[in-house]
C-alpha cells in the first residue's frame, strides 16, 4: 500500500536528511511547542493556514499516498521522518488522525472508488478524516466492535474516544454488519450522528465521542473484511506513532540536558552530579533503543510479517520508554518542571495519552505472544548451530 522501501536498513539518504530539515524548519517557524501549548490552552483544534501550507508548500499530507490518488508516492519511512519532527513540538490537530490513521484505513480497505474520491482531497489538505474503532474499552479487537450496521447500512452504536472524531470532515468507522465487521464512511451532518468533544488529558490532541442512531453510512471494501483493514491501518499508525514518540523523547532529552548544563546548585552545574548524569544516560539509552525500534519497523514493507512484528515491537517499547522519559524530564527539572508554564507536563500528558491509543503496550504484548511462540518453536528445531550448506553444483 505504500511505496516499496529500496534503501538498505538504516541507510539514511540525502533526501531523508533534506526532508527532515525542511519539516523541522517549517515547524520551528510556524508551530513550535509554544504554539501547540497555545492552541491547547484556548481549545483550538488546529491552525488551518499552517495545515494548508503543509499540503501546498511541502506536500506532507500526500507524501506517502500513491500518485494516482494525488500523492507523491513516498515511503512510510518518509512519513515517519515527518511525524518524528511533529512529535518534537507536540504538533496536534488533524494531521496524525488523517494521515496516519484514516488514510491507511482507506487504502487498506482497497475500495477504489472511495480512495479516488477522498484520498486526493486528503493529499491536497482540503479534507481531514478520523478513524473510529474502539468503543470505550480501549481494546483493538474485532470482538469489541458492537456498533451495528443493519441490512440497509444504517449504523447504531457509540465510538469513543476518537482522535479528532468531533471535528474531522470524514469519519471512517468499523461496524458489525450481517457479513461481519466492515468499514463505513460517514460525513458530518448525517442524520442520527451526534459528535461531542471530550475533555482530554493531552490538550494537544482533540478527541470526541460519536453516537450513531440509525445513521446512514457508505460501506467500503469487501463486506466482512473490514477488520483486516483496521489491523493494517493500526500497524501503520503504530509505527508512525513510535516515530512521533521518538521525536518527543529527543526533545525531552535535549531539554533536560540543556537545563542540566545551565542550572547551578551547591556551586555546581547540576549536570555534574552523577545522580543527574546517570538518569540522563538512562534517558539517552531509552531514546536510542526507541529510535532503532521505530525506524527498523519503518524500514520494513507494510504487509510483511517483519512489518507487523516491527510495529508491535516499536509500539510496546517506545510508548513505555516515552512515558518514563517524560517522567524523568520533570524529575531532573525539579520544581520548575512541576509548573504549568514549563513544557515538561505537556510531554508527560502526551506520553500517557499515547499509551491508550492504538491498544495499550500490555495488549500489544499479549498479541505478540503468537510471534514469540513461533520464534521459540524454531529454536527447538534448530539443532545444528549453523545453517545447512547448499552445495554448489
Amino acid at each position: 500500500m505504500y511505496a516499496e522501501q529500496r534503501d538498505p536498513e538504516f541507510g539514511w539518504t540525502g533526501e531523508h536528511r533534506q526532508l527532515r530539515e525542511t519539516v523541522r524548519g517549517l515547524l520551528a517557524e510556524r508551530a513550535p511547542v509554544s504554539r501547540s501549548r497555545e492552541l491547547a490552552e484556548v481549545g483550538e483544534r488546529y491552525d488551518p493556514a499552517l495545515y494548508a501550507a503543509l499540503a501546498e508548500q511541502v506536500g506532507l499530507q500526500g507524501l506517502a499516498l500513491p500518485e494516482r490518488f494525488g500523492g507523491y508516492g513516498g515511503t512510510l519511512l518518509d512519513l515517519a521522518i515527518v511525524v518524528e519532527e511533529m512529535g518534537r513540538v507536540l504538533h496536534g490537530g488533524p494531521f496524525f488522525p488523517t494521515v496516519a490513521l484514516a488514510a491507511p484505513a482507506l487504502m487498506a480497505a482497497a475500495d477504489e472508488a472511495a480512495c479516488a474520491e477522498y484520498l486526493p482531497r486528503i493529499a491536497d489538505g482540503t479534507l481531514t478524516a478520523a478513524l473510529a474503532v474502539v468503543e470505550g474499552s480501549g481494546v483493538w479487537s474485532a470482538d469489541d466492535v458492537s456498533t451495528t450496521a443493519d441490512i440497509g447500512g444504517l449504523l447504531t452504536g457509540a465510538k469513543f474516544p476518537v482522535l479528532d472524531g468531533a471535528d474531522a470532515d470524514l469519519l471512517v468507522l468499523a461496524a458489525r454488519g450481517p457479513e461481519g465487521v466492515s468499514l463505513y464512511l460517514v460525513e458530518p451532518g448525517t442524520p442520527g450522528l451526534r459528535r461531542a468533544p471530550m475533555e482530554t488529558l493531552d490538550g494537544t490532541r482533540r478527541m470526541g465521542r460519536l453516537t450513531l442512531d440509525r445513521t446512514p453510512a457508505r460501506r467500503i471494501g469487501t463486506p466482512g473484511q473490514g477488520w483486516a483493514a483496521v489491523v493494517q491501518a493500526r500497524e501503520v499508525a503504530s509505527v508512525l506513532m513510535a516515530a512521533e514518540q521518538v521525536g518527543a523523547m529527543a526533545a525531552c532529552v535535549e531539554l533536560t540536558a540543556e537545563y542540566a548544563k545551565t542550572r547551578r546548585q551547591f556551586g555546581r552545574l547540576i549536570g555534574s552530579f552523577q545522580g543527574v548524569k546517570h538518569r540522563l544516560a538512562d534517558m539517552a539509552v531509552r531514546l536510542e533503543m526507541s529510535r532503532s525500534a521505530a525506524y527498523w519497523a519503518a524500514w520494513q514493507d507494510p504487509g510483511t510479517d517483519e512489518f507487523s512484528f516491527g510495529a508491535a515491537t516499536a509500539r510496546s517499547f517506545c510508548s513505555e520508554a516515552y512515558l518514563q522519559t517524560a517522567q524523568d524530564t520533570i524529575q531532573l527539572h525539579g520544581g520548575i518542571g512541576f509548573t504549568w508554564e514549563h513544557d515538561a507536563h505537556l510531554y508527560l500528558r502526551r506520553a500517557r495519552a499515547d499509551m491508550a491509543l492504538l491498544g495499550t503496550p500490555t495488549q500489544v504484548r499479549a498479541e505478540l505472544e503468537t510471534t514469540v511462540l513461533a520464534a521459540a518453536a524454531e529454536l527447538d528445531s534448530a539443532v545444528p548451530a549453523w545453517p545447512a550448506i547448499e552445495v554448489p553444483a
Binding site: V285, A376, W386
Partner: protein, 411 residues
C-alpha cells in the same frame, strides 16, 4: 590455491561471500567439509577439538589472510574494511572454520595494537604467528587497586642498566593467562609523573620466570579468569611496545578495538529470550499471564537492542568505537540482569534446589547475570561516558588527575 590479492576480491557483497565460500570448499579438509555439508555438528566439533588438526587448519586459514581480513595486505591480512570483513567472517562461521573465542585478545586486541605501535621486528615476530593461530594471548591490565580507574595501576617496571626491565606487581581478571604465550602488560615506569603519563606498555612472554597466573574463583563457582602475580620478572626492552611512559596512548588503541569485522553482521533474530520462552513452555510457567508479559517484554527489549546494534553497525563507517557503544553495552547489561532473574522464575521451584547432578541452566545464567554490568567498564562508568560524550555533561572531577602518581591518596 591462494586467495587473490585484495584488489582482485569481488566488490559486491554476494560475490565476496561466494569467493570466500569457494575458497573454503577448496581448502577445508574433505571430512570437515563433508561433516559441515551433512550438518553433523558433533563430527565437526570432534575435528576442531583435535589440537593437531586444528593447528593445521588455522595455519592454512592464516596464510590466506582470511583469519585477519582487516589487517593490511602484506602484514597477514587482506586490507578489508570492517563491513567486508564481516562478510568473510560470516562465511567462516557457516563452515565452522573460524578462530575460537579464546583468540579474542590476540586477534582483536594484540594484533591491531602491534600494527599501530610495533617496530618492524615486533610486527615480523608476532603478526604472522597471531594470524596463523600459533600463539594464545591474554590481557594484563586490571589490578586489585585499578579497576574502573585503570590508569591508577601500580605494577612497577624499573629499567636496569642493561636496558631490560624488572617488573613487580599483581594483575587480575586475566582470561586464559594460565595457558597464554603472551600478555599485553601495562606497568608504571615513572611514579613521579601524573598517573596517565608514567605508564609503559609491554608484550610480555608469559613463560618468563616470575610470572605466576593463579585461577580466580568467581561468584559463579567457575574459574575462567586468573590473577597473575609478577615477581622480579625480567623483560627485555625489545618487548616494550611504543615509547617509554606513553603506554596509556598505546592502551587506548587496545581499548578502542571494538568493531573489527571479526564477528558477522548483526541481525534481528533468535536471542536469549527465545530460549527462556522455550523453557517456560516446558516448565508450564508460560501459563502464568504475568510471567508471559515479562517474557514478551524481555523479547521486545532484546530485539530492540539487536536493532540498535544493526543501526550502530551501519552508522559506524570507521573502525572507531563511539560513545554509542556505551549505550549498547549499558542496555545489554540491564537486559542481562532482567533475563538472569526471569530465568530462575520460570523454574518450578525458582531454581533454588535441584536433584544431584540436575542443576538447571537458569542457575548459571542467574549467577553470571552481573557479568556485563561490571566487565569491560561498569554500568556506572558507561553512564558517565554517555552523559559526558553524548549529552555534553561536565566531566566527572578527578582531583588526582594531574598529581604525581606517588603523591596520590591510596585506598
Amino acid at each position: 590455491m591462494t586467495l587473490a590479492h585484495p584488489v582482485d576480491l569481488p566488490a559486491a557483497e554476494a560475490d565476496l561471500a561466494d569467493a570466500v565460500g569457494a575458497w573454503l570448499r577448496e581448502n577445508l579438509p574433505p571430512d570437515w567439509l563433508a561433516a559441515v555439508d551433512a550438518g553433523d555438528h558433533a563430527a565437526v566439533e570432534r575435528i576442531r577439538a583435535d589440537p593437531g588438526r586444528r593447528a593445521a587448519w588455522f595455519d592454512v586459514l592464516g596464510a590466506s589472510g582470511l583469519a585477519t581480513p582487516t589487517w593490511p595486505w602484506g602484514q597477514g591480512g587482506l586490507g578489508l574494511t570492517a563491513d567486508r570483513a564481516s562478510i568473510v567472517t560470516e562465511q567462516l562461521v557457516r563452515y565452522r572454520a573460524e578462530r575460537p573465542n579464546q583468540d579474542f585478545v590476540g586477534l582483536t586486541l594484540a594484533g591491531p595494537t602491534i600494527l599501530e605501535w610495533g617496530t618492524d621486528e615486533q610486527k615480523a615476530a608476532r603478526l604472522p604467528a597471531l594470524a596463523r593461530g600459533r600463539e594464545l594471548w591474554c590481557q594484563l591490565f586490571s589490578e586489585p587497586g585499578a579497576g574502573s580507574d585503570l590508569a591508577a595501576l601500580s605494577t612497577r617496571a624499573v629499567q636496569r642498566e642493561d636496558s631490560s626491565w624488572l617488573v613487580n606487581g599483581q594483575k587480575v581478571w586475566n582470561s586464559y593467562a594460565h595457558l597464554a604465550d603472551f600478555g599485553l602488560l601495562m606497568a608504571r615506569t615513572d611514579p613521579a609523573a601524573p598517573k596517565h603519563r608514567g605508564i609503559t606498555y609491554f608484550l610480555l612472554d608469559m613463560r618468563t620466570p616470575g610470572v605466576e597466573p593463579r585461577p580466580l574463583k568467581q561468584m559463579t563457582g567457575n574459574a575462567e579468569f586468573n590473577e597473575t602475580f609478577l615477581t622480579d620478572v625480567v623483560v627485555p626492552d625489545s618487548a616494550r611496545l611504543g615509547p617509554v611512559n606513553q603506554g596509556w596512548a598505546v592502551a587506548i588503541t587496545t581499548l578502542m578495538q571494538e568493531r573489527n569485522g571479526l564477528s558477522g553482521r548483526p541481525v534481528v533474530g533468535q536471542g536469549e529470550s527465545d530460549r527462556l520462552v522455550g523453557r517456560a513452555l516446558t516448565t508450564g510457567a508460560w501459563r502464568d499471564p504475568l510471567l508471559r508479559d515479562r517474557l514478551v517484554s524481555a523479547f521486545v527489549e532484546e530485539r530492540a537492542l539487536q536493532m540498535t546494534t544493526i543501526r550502530g553497525f551501519v552508522a559506524a563507517g570507521s573502525g572507531a568505537p563511539t560513545a554509542e557503544g556505551s549505550i549498547r553495552k549499558l542496555a545489554h547489561a540491564t537486559l542481562s540482569e532482567k533475563l538472569g532473574v526471569l530465568g530462575t522464575e520460570l523454574e518450578p521451584d525458582g531454581a533454588v534446589a535441584w536433584d544431584a547432578g540436575e542443576r538447571p541452566v537458569a542457575v548459571d545464567a542467574f549467577l553470571a547475570m552481573k557479568t556485563y554490568s561490571i566487565a569491560g567498564g561498569t554500568s556506572e562508568i558507561q553512564r558517565n561516558i554517555i552523559s559526558e560524550r553524548v549529552l555534553g555533561m561536565p566531566k566527572d572531577p578527578d582531583p588526582e588527575r594531574h598529581k604525581p602518581f606517588q603523591e596520590r591518596s591510596r585506598g
